[in-house]
Symmetry: none
Subunit: 532 residues, 2 copies
């Protein structure tokens, strides 16, 4: 039976406080999870959440998943209502996914006090809904909400829930530690007790852990050690309260510690990239200290260690960081910094191996900028411009020179809000003054710049601002806060690139990112992409 | 035998990237750990780290610990040197602490490759140093570095290390998962194997876990379940790479899940306060999603849950948050229904239970705003203003009326970037025009507004913008993107509140959040907090 890695970043993980994915965000996250190789992406609750209905609708034509099966999540039919009359269930089918996950009450107390129905009716709700969806040709997963607490309270009833769901045709019954209060040894004991009691094969079970005791990952591993072959989690452990099991750590532990190849070949190495990209989309600062994926996960500091690492890296790393796409950083030397810059440049088609002086210069510049808040991790185009400006034979052409700009935002007496920007630039020897309005200060500035460049660079018309992200970064060492802006530009021909700008003033930070975006796009249109 | 809770925040935990405690910081952290009731505070490495030598010197007269024993950490004597001739060992004694912890190589490969000495000499180093310190009247703990990896590689040698240390008089031999690669079941197996092999009582062992597999807390619990009665960890899990076991989660699990009273009476409830205070001293943003201690640890979102919480809070919390000094927060979300809004209002001291029409109106308004990008989840103050503006007898007083404002950002020819704002408002019948500069458009606008209000509301001087977050949200149903701004304001008297603003224009969105912030703060200063 195939091991199932089931991701619920877009459904359960979306419950994290302050987190709100747009439909476009959800599509992007789904693609990233697919690149990481998960077997299932639970996309949301169609019908109940308008954005989710929209997501499933667009997914049908816009999502082309290579590894993952898309899953719609919802609930069993309402008490006392025929399943064919239940609109919510209808909504799950309308989402058109190959698989559907149903949350079912597995704790008798919840059945009685929260649902306020009978033990028997709850079983009927589960049976009817599962059977109906199976008859409609869907794969069905059943999430036993509060399974562990319910099993401890009334093992006979909770067992009946498990049996009912599986007998009705559910592919897996997922044991959910909804309140997150479990410890690994208790997960093991519960699973052993359950499988003994009703003779169910553990491979028909799944595990869904919450992190309230800081044991979600460990609880998931314990379940697998007890024979479970379906694990649920979210990217970076995002979720309600202390979150869900971090799917990255779970998978890394399964593959690297338990030797179980649960992802398709080559996928594990995508972890760090996917982890960071999802954090960016969620607009959550990546956790530098996250296991496996954090920037500091393999960063050694103690003098005690660094000397030994030089002698034998495997003496101090529990795994080789490369296998998860991470890097070992030595904080007291510059060695790893140069290696990263060189690798990255090569990735972009620029070979610095034969240019040690340039490599040193670029590395210093990158470190200096990063100390000031710049981050090139998600801004390849800005990074490429930086490297190329140090290579005389590959230096990018600057399309214009800035003389000055001004941006005005007015909230007028009549309540209207207007933004207007004027730029004064020199383009190919000519002085140009251009003014435009926009729906905000940055949009106005972008528009004004395009107006000013339009005559000399008509190809700009196809460039479109695809995404714009702002983050305020704490100052350090006595400096004030700075704003970091990431701009994603698309050229209408399927290519897009990201640039960055950092400055205490959000408009100036945006200006830098916008200028890099246009410079990169125009330069590329002129010479073709670097490296062919 | 007493259970030992041993904290190494100030030694191992200080290895976290970017973290640097001053001597004063260390004294403050030690006091806080003592208030939490830990049995031991490992304060640092005297002699090796100058700041630590100073810390132990000042601790003798300035630290008055009620529960904790201060411990100096260091290493066994050097190879080939008599222990009485070893300056580093002398330094440990000079620190004058009742207890000393020694790190010893427990992995033969490290003895040979890192220390570059013989197996026998390493055992002699351990024996000599422990015996010497015991003879000098100190309690001695021995940390078996790389214990688990070493035991797997050469169980006979690693066992000999354990026996040598205990025979020489060590109080505990601490099993260190230095590389952090262990899983709970493997910790259990190793401890059972070791105790079988050499007949050592597990209560003579200790556990020190690192978090590289995201299982540090679980590994520590597994060790206790195997009979170990000494656990090590750090505040908030701070430490090198993905950190150490979070001492707060470990202790909470032991006390609340395993029913082991490991802290003195009344200490567990100090957790949240101590956790946050140490984060402040370390200058690390508290992890809102930290198990037990995080601000969001007990914050419920899903509409699914909120309706049940009303019915029975213990159905959804794995423990009562009050026992760790935390609180249950209901988040308002897209999934919110009347139940969530009612619960949240009650939390803020406003009882809508008897006002069903108002409740409906507020719920509709919240849903409507949220569909447009507003989020009240993290903006309690804006939510309260919204609710109260629907209650005639509790409506907030608006401090001024806006006529117009304008904001200008200029990038001048000389390269300087300036921001200036002018507001025209009516304050208590008087028309006021005020202008100010700032480091960005929003800062300039905030300054101008304060200048305009200063004469009528001098108390504004104490209000400070503590945090500012910006998010660009995708448009939906054909509308363009909107910007959501969250502003956190502090009044300098220990209170802070968060407000929100949403608009396509970042300046206008910020304006709304700023006005709500001032309105809320001034209104509260006038009438006192809602609900008393």
């Amino acid at each position: 039976m195939t091991f199932q890695v089931y991701d619920t970043t877009l459904r359960d993980g979306a419950q994290r406080e302050g987190l709100s994915y747009s439909v476009v965000d959800k599509l992007a996250v789904a693609r990233l999870l697919d690149e990481f190789g998960v077997g299932f992406v639970e996309g949301g609750w169609p019908g109940a959440v308008p954005k989710d209905t929209e997501f499933f609708r667009r997914a049908r034509t816009e999502l082309d998943l290579r590894h993952a099966v898309l899953v719609a999540f919802g609930a069993t039919r309402r008490a006392g209502v025929a399943v064919t009359d239940d609109a919510q269930v209808r909504g799950l089918l309308d989402a058109g996914t190959p698989a559907i996950a149903l949350v079912a009450k597995a704790d008798l107390r919840h059945v009685e006090r929260a649902l306020r129905t009978s033990a028997g009716e709850n079983l009927a709700m589960i049976h009817d809904t599962v059977a109906h969806l199976v008859a409609e040709g869907r794969r069905v997963f059943v999430d036993g909400e509060h399974f562990f607490d319910g099993y401890r309270h009334d093992p006979a009833y909770t067992s009946a829930v498990v049996e009912t769901a599986l007998a009705a045709g559910a592919e897996r019954f997922v044991l959910c530690d909804t309140n997150g209060g479990m410890l690994p040894s208790r997960v093991t004991a519960a699973i052993v007790d359950l499988t003994d009691r009703i003779g169910v094969a553990p491979e028909l079970l799944g595990m869904h852990a919450q992190n309230d005791t800081a044991c979600a990952v460990a609880n998931t591993i314990a379940a697998v050690e007890a024979g479970v072959r379906h694990v649920q989690g979210t990217a970076n452990g995002y979720g309600e309260r202390p979150g869900n099991a971090d799917i990255f750590a779970v998978v890394a532990n399964l593959q690297l510690k338990l030797g179980m190849p649960v992802l398709p070949e080559g996928c594990l190495a995508q972890m760090v990239r996917v982890s960071h990209a999802i954090a960016e989309i969620a607009n959550i600062a990546p956790d530098t200290h996250q296991a496996y994926a954090g920037a500091a996960a393999f960063a050694h500091k103690a003098g005690l260690h660094a000397s030994a690492i030089k002698v034998d890296p495997l003496l101090y790393n529990h795994v080789d960081p490369v296998v998860v796409g991470n890097d070992m950083r030595i904080l007291i030397t510059e060695m790893a910094g140069r290696a990263s810059v060189e690798l990255k440049s090569r990735e972009l088609g620029l070979d610095l191996a034969g240019h040690p002086d340039t490599l040193s210069k670029v590395t210093s510049r990158v470190k200096e900028l990063e100390a000031g808040g710049w981050s090139f991790e998600a801004a390849d185009a800005s990074f490429e411009l930086l490297v190329r400006s140090e290579l005389p034979d590959a230096a990018p052409v600057r399309p214009f020179a800035l003389e000055s700009y001004r941006v005005l935002v007015e909230h007028r007496e009549d309540g209207s809000v207007v933004s207007e920007a004027t730029v004064k630039i020199r383009v190919r020897g000519e002085r140009v003054i251009a003014t435009a309005e926009g729906n905000g200060p940055v949009n106005a500035l972008d528009e004004a710049l395009r107006v000013g460049l339009a005559r000399h660079y008509p190809e700009l018309r196809d460039f479109e601002l695809a995404d714009y992200k702002v983050r305020i970064l704490e100052g350090s060492h006595g400096t004030g806060a700075v704003t970091r802006v990431l701009v994603e530009t698309a050229d209408g021909a399927g290519r897009d690139w990201t640039t960055v700008g950092v400055h205490p003033n959000v408009v100036e930070a945006s200006w830098h990112a916008l200028v890099d975006a246009l410079t990169y796009g125009l330069d590329r249109a002129r010479v073709g992409p670097a490296g062919g």
